[in-house]
Amino acid sequence: MNTILLLHLLLVFMVIGSIITVEIKNMLSAVISVGAVGFILSVTFLFLGAPDIAITQVIVEILSLILLIRATINVDNVAIEEKGESIFSNRTTLIFVGIILVFAWIAFQSLPAFGEPSMRISRYYLLNAYSKVGASNIVASIILDFRAYDTFGELLVLFTSISGAFAVLRRGKIDKHKDHLKIDLET
């Protein structure tokens, strides 16, 4: 019961941090607020009993903080001027989000309650992970043995994104006209 109370407190802090992130004017403060939300999320994972995900969340949060600060500090944030109201304006977006929330509420009624997994498929993993694989960390035996195909797809996503980035950013200059940006790549 106490854990659930702490969990709700952390969720409230995360919502507050997200609102600060969206509403604040300074870019660096927004990035730091995103980092705070990520660290609270990692503590939430610890309360839910998932130390693997908590470790990953902390480390990835540090990396994304560095990347976001590196990406946002040197870049001039020119605000795009809004000219009139387009079709996908704020009201239309709100209406669509409302419709999606209504359907999500209907769909979430059929899910099991929070903290009570149905354990239909995962019971097999919990019972047979050590005897079949031999790894005492069940998470590792699931993501790298039972569900290794998912991990392979995750690797392929990273590989493909890096290949695409190198194909786009390859060596070359596009300064035929004076108005274009000149990008010089060393690598």
């Binding site: 990953t56 990396l63 079949k132 990273l158 590989f159 000149k182």
Partner: protein
């Protein structure tokens, strides 16, 4: 005769970085080798490796790192990681009939007690670490965009190359 400019941050940061990077790499290796026994695994190990390289890049400057691990080398290491995972999958297909099957599972050897999980951890760590490091390198390259002509006026930026 050009004056050699000291790149990177101050010597305090460089000294602390040279101490810290070893521990970060050690921790990443611990995550890889004991990923089947303790919480951890390939993904945090890879991100930790990428963070170590990013720390060196920030402290010593980009030219220092690119002499050791250039962008091309990191890209090739990413390919090597994916290929290791793929070959483990095909070995599983060859030895036990299913793609990505754990063909060494639950044996009594000293090191591979959980089969191919350690090999897959190495592959995941290589791919994740090197690709995240490459994302950082690409952002460092993006910071060096030089603008000419009237676009500089729109961006409100000087027409010379930005400092790294």
């Amino acid at each position: 005769m050009e004056k050699k400019v000291e790149s990177g941050m101050s010597s305090i940061v460089k000294t602390i970085t040279s101490v810290m990077v070893g521990f970060m790499m050690l921790f990443a290796g611990y995550f890889i080798l004991f990923g089947d026994e303790v919480p951890g695994g390939g993904f945090p190990a890879g991100v930790m490796m990428a963070l170590a390289y990013i720390l060196i890049t920030l402290a010593y400057g980009r030219e220092f790192v690119e002499k050791r691990v250039s962008g091309i080398t990191a890209s090739k290491l990413t390919d090597v990681g994916v290929l290791i995972f793929l070959f483990v999958g095909f070995f599983g297909l060859y030895f036990s009939g299913t793609f990505l099957n754990n063909f060494l599972q639950n044996n009594e050897s000293l090191f591979f007690t959980s089969g191919t999980i350690i090999i897959n951890d190495v592959a995941v760590a290589l791919t994740v670490g090197m690709s995240l490091y490459l994302i950082f390198l690409a952002l460092a390259i993006f910071g060096r965009v030089v603008c000419e002509g009237s676009l500089c006026k729109d961006l409100g930026r000087d027409s010379e190359e930005e400092k790294e």
